[in-house]
């Protein structure tokens, strides 16, 4: 994607009439390899190499985008020209196609090394499985009509599927998902996560519908906060928080932020999809509503906090969350269990949704453990936790766990058809009186690979 960015910016001049108009070119180069595994063998190998480019112009009351599958200078010219025609602006003259310069060769994706590593991990920890593993390298570049261009690259790995694990009453099929940015420690982390997921367990009992005090442990509170805070604080939409700026909605011990700068988490990035460097945004500061996630179109005075995201170059950006991070408290997990006395201990949430108009949310757990007299007891589940955003926030206890865990099972979030990487890290929290609805056991074992509004 070696383009003459100043030339592109010049071509876009006519699109941006006033200082409040936004105009930009967005380019993406994506390489990915996907392997499907069945019981130790790779049964399908897929590779993708894609380039896309879009030109976008936003005025006060309209937003226009033109996308072409060509991230070259010719593609940029075509996209800008089409956009100019659509908006009734003077258009660039047509130019004959020139032969494309030979693109440089890229370093390989490292699939072979990963295949060997995964083969070894699976054969030891989960020999019977059906997994889909994806490794992707995505380079994104934003060229705004005014301001500096930006470029960033992310390498992401995902493993999703099911495996057969031993339980005390025989084999059972368990869902597993793991999403992490590529790094030296990713394989070790994956190995540990798969070993934990495969530990022998009791057969879970069904849950009665009703209300219960719930501890969300093992980092899975990130899913809960992603649904009730992150989505509700994405700028530009009505939510139960509308008109409650700075209001205290939870205990002062609770600090939650959205932190796209955490590149060790799956949802992190160096620049958002409008070329803005992100900054951590406090969503709850000592229990008070503290900020909104904004893109350039929804930011006060046009100063975005770097949360304009798109699923790909063919999509318009919108404000989205990235990594939800909850600050640690001082409680130990034993203390939390004692405080619950009688309730449910959940260490895994595998999906969720929120309806912002009514503020109702639901998150799904594949299994849980009952807490009886302050001790972890028998296994139960699967089921849904449900409630309304504001009462649920009010019901969070001041005792917040002292250990923060990255929740690698959370990897993607869908909103309005756009799927973007997200993740989070959270300590254990205790929420009083959440509604519980049981789910047929087999219906709860289906992995939900995305969570979203």
């Amino acid at each position: 994607m070696d383009l003459d960015v100043s030339r592109l910016a010049n071509w876009m001049e006519s699109l941006s009439k006033g200082p409040e108009d936004l105009a930009e070119i967005f380019l993406e180069h994506r390489r990915a390899a996907t392997l499907e595994w069945r019981d130790g063998e790779v049964v399908t190998g897929r590779a993708a190499c894609e380039n896309g480019l879009s030109a976008r112009c936003r005025t006060r009351d309209a937003d226009h985008l033109v996308f072409v599958s060509d991230a070259s200078e010719a593609g940029a010219r075509e996209a800008i020209r089409s956009l100019q025609i659509r908006m009734g602006r003077p258009a660039l003259p047509r130019k004959p196609d020139r032969p494309k310069p030979q693109s440089e060769s890229e370093p390989p994706l490292d699939v072979d090394r990963w295949t060997r590593k995964l083969t070894s991990i699976f054969s030891r920890l989960a020999p019977r499985h059906r997994f889909r593993w994806t490794l992707s390298d995505v380079t994104r570049q934003v060229v705004p009509v005014r301001g500096a261009p930006s470029s960033s690259t992310r390498r992401l790995l995902s493993l999703e599927g099911t495996f057969t694990a031993a339980s005390r009453r025989g084999d059972e099929i368990r869902a597993f998902s793991f999403h992490a940015p590529g790094s030296e420690t990713t394989a070790d982390e994956l190995r540990a996560a798969l070993a934990r997921a495969g530990e022998p367990r009791e057969t879970p009992a069904s849950l009665p519908d009703g209300q219960a005090d719930v501890v969300l442990a093992g980092g899975c509170a990130a899913v809960f906060f992603h649904e009730i805070l992150s989505h509700a604080l994405e700028a530009g939409q009505e939510s139960p928080f509308s008109g409650l700026e700075q209001a205290r909605v939870a205990v002062p011990e609770l600090d939650v932020r959205d932190d796209a700068t955490r590149l060790d988490l799956f949802g992190g990035y160096e620049q958002d999809d409008e070329g803005v460097r992100p900054r951590p945004v406090k969503l709850l500061d000592a229990g008070r509503l503290a900020g909104l996630l904004t893109d350039r179109a929804h930011a006060p005075r046009g100063v975005s906090n770097g949360h304009g995201r798109r699923a790909g170059p063919s999509d318009l950006p919108m404000p989205r969350g990235s990594n939800i991070v909850v600050a640690p408290g001082h409680a130990t997990e034993d203390e939390l269990a004692r405080r619950v006395s009688s309730g449910i201990w959940i260490a895994d949430l595998d999906g969720g949704s929120v309806e912002l108009a009514s503020g109702q949310f639901r998150v799904r757990f594949p299994r849980a453990r009952r807490v009886r007299r302050g001790r972890l007891a028998d296994e139960c589940g699967p089921g849904w936790l449900a409630g309304e955003i504001l009462p649920a926030l009010k019901s969070i206890e001041a005792a917040v766990g002292r250990e923060v865990y990255s929740y690698r099972a959370l990897g993607f979030c869908a909103r309005s058809g756009q799927v973007v990487p997200v993740q989070g890290a959270a300590p254990a929290i205790l929420v009083r009186r959440l509604a519980i609805r049981s789910l047929q056991r087999s219906l709860g074992s289906v992995p939900a690979l995305e969570s979203g509004a």
Binding site: C49, D61, S69, S314, Q440, L443
Partner: protein, 417 residues
């Protein structure tokens, strides 16, 4: 659009055992909300190759011929276990009908907002309307001489409304697909029901009774059980002669949409369930090899980025012997009308279980009584299918994402909570 280098590469790597798919598509999208309008025009090209090399299946895709060649080179280095090669189709079309350039969709926001407001007596407001109109040309070639091309068109969208009554509010979403003139009134009616009925504070007054499924609910149920028609083997509980009640006939026929599937196999009508008896199933090239059968033309590509997989293409309940929907309503003694789902239909094919969460209306002696904000019907899938007591004539198609057609269905007995 030709990918000569990719073709050469494929012929060299996997003589006769390759397939090349190319697509050029154009679409217009309009997203309207209040005074805001967002529009997108997309011109997408994509190419995909599938081939059997050293016995193993590989797949590569790219946004241009050059990208595809690179992807082929990456995919060939992956070590893949052997799998049987398919029996490739060999059709050849003469000439190619190019797709008409798609026009941008008209802005129906104000009209839908007005009709929604009228249908809901002012309790529901349209928040956002997304309309998409597109056309594409697909070309498929393979190493056995197949060379076909086809043009496909689509016009679909999604509408979001908010229902409000006092301090209560509810979000409603309706996904629709128009094949002829836009049917705004039907979308307004569905949205009004979804946005307003849950605002009632009444839960289900019945623990058991008859259940009348709106076409949108019945279509969601049909889409949820579709894996029964594509699986290599049916689940243990499935008795093929007694799949459903005698009134159930289910077919798949995408002949009106496209002459070929995503693998170049000609489209044909397949009767899946005939008067309650499961008589056939759907096959793509890979599943046909496994079942030692021929493809039925159901190799579907959700996108050029994914290899074809077996899936319904236009699945529907036959309604030639149906009754008018008002007769079905009149026949209900005590039950619920499931007007709209409030959560995706959940079905466990292996364990013979289903759950439907819906909002609707209580019915007594054939008359609508009171709204029901939320109810859940659950039980055994096999029983549900056998308890379909009547099929109406008001079939409608919904994107699930493939067109799925269902009329109002009467379930003779269901358990509610």
């Amino acid at each position: 659009m030709r990918a000569e280098s990719a073709l050469e590469e494929l012929s060299r790597r996997a003589p006769k055992q390759w397939e090349l798919y190319q697509k050029v598509g154009e679409s217009h999208e309009l997203i309207a909300s209040g005074g805001q309008r967002r529009s997108a025009w997309r011109r997408e090209t994509g190419q995909a190759a599938r081939w059997w090399e050293d016995g193993g299946m590989r797949f590569a895709c790219g946004s241009s011929a050059e990208d595809l060649t690179r992807a082929i080179s990456s995919a060939q280095s992956i070590r893949v276990s052997p799998s049987p090669t398919p029996q490739w189709p060999q059709s050849r079309t003469i000439g190619v009908r190019s797709a008409a350039a798609a026009d941008p969709p008209s802005d129906f926001f104000d009209e839908l907002a007005r009709q929604l407001s009228a249908e809901s007596r002012g309790e529901a407001q349209l928040a956002e309307l997304t309309l998409r109109r597109g056309s594409a040309v697909e070309r498929i070639e393979n190493g056995c001489g197949l060379a076909v091309a086809q043009a496909v068109e689509s016009f679909d969208g999604v509408a979001l409304a908010i229902g409000r009554r006092g301090s209560r509010s509810c979000e409603a979403r309706a996904v629709f697909r128009w094949e002829g003139e836009p049917d705004i009134a039907a979308v307004a009616r569905r949205l009004a029901d979804r946005a307003v009925l849950p605002l009632s504070e009444r839960s289900t007054p019945l623990a058991r009774g008859e259940c009348l499924l709106d076409p949108s609910v019945a279509a969601a149920l049909l889409a949820a059980i579709a894996p029964l028609f594509t699986a290599d083997r049916g689940p243990r509980w499935l008795s093929r002669p007694h799949f459903g009640s005698e009134r159930v006939t289910i077919a798949d026929d995408a002949g009106a949409d496209a002459p070929f599937d995503g693998e170049g196999t000609p489209t044909r009508r397949v009767i899946l369930v005939q008067s309650g008896e499961a008589v056939s199933s759907l096959r793509d090239l890979s599943s046909a090899v496994r079942s030692r059968d021929r493809s039925t033309g159901h190799g579907v590509r959700p996108s050029y980025r994914l290899p074809p997989r077996v899936s319904p293409r236009r699945l529907f309940f036959e309604t030639t012997e149906g009754a008018p929907p008002r007769d079905l309503l009149a026949s209900v003694r005590r039950g619920l009308f499931a007007s709209a789902l409030t959560a995706p239909a959940r079905v466990d094919i292996e364990q013979d279980h289903f759950e439907l969460e819906f909002t609707g209306i209580a019915i007594v002696a054939g008359r609508a009584q009171s709204p029901v904000s939320g109810a859940r019907a659950r039980g055994r899938l096999s029983q549900l299918l056998r308890r379909i007591g009547a099929v109406a004539t008001d079939r409608q198609f919904f994107p699930m994402p493939y067109p799925t057609g269902a009329p109002t269905l009467l379930i003779e007995r269901a358990d509610f909570d």
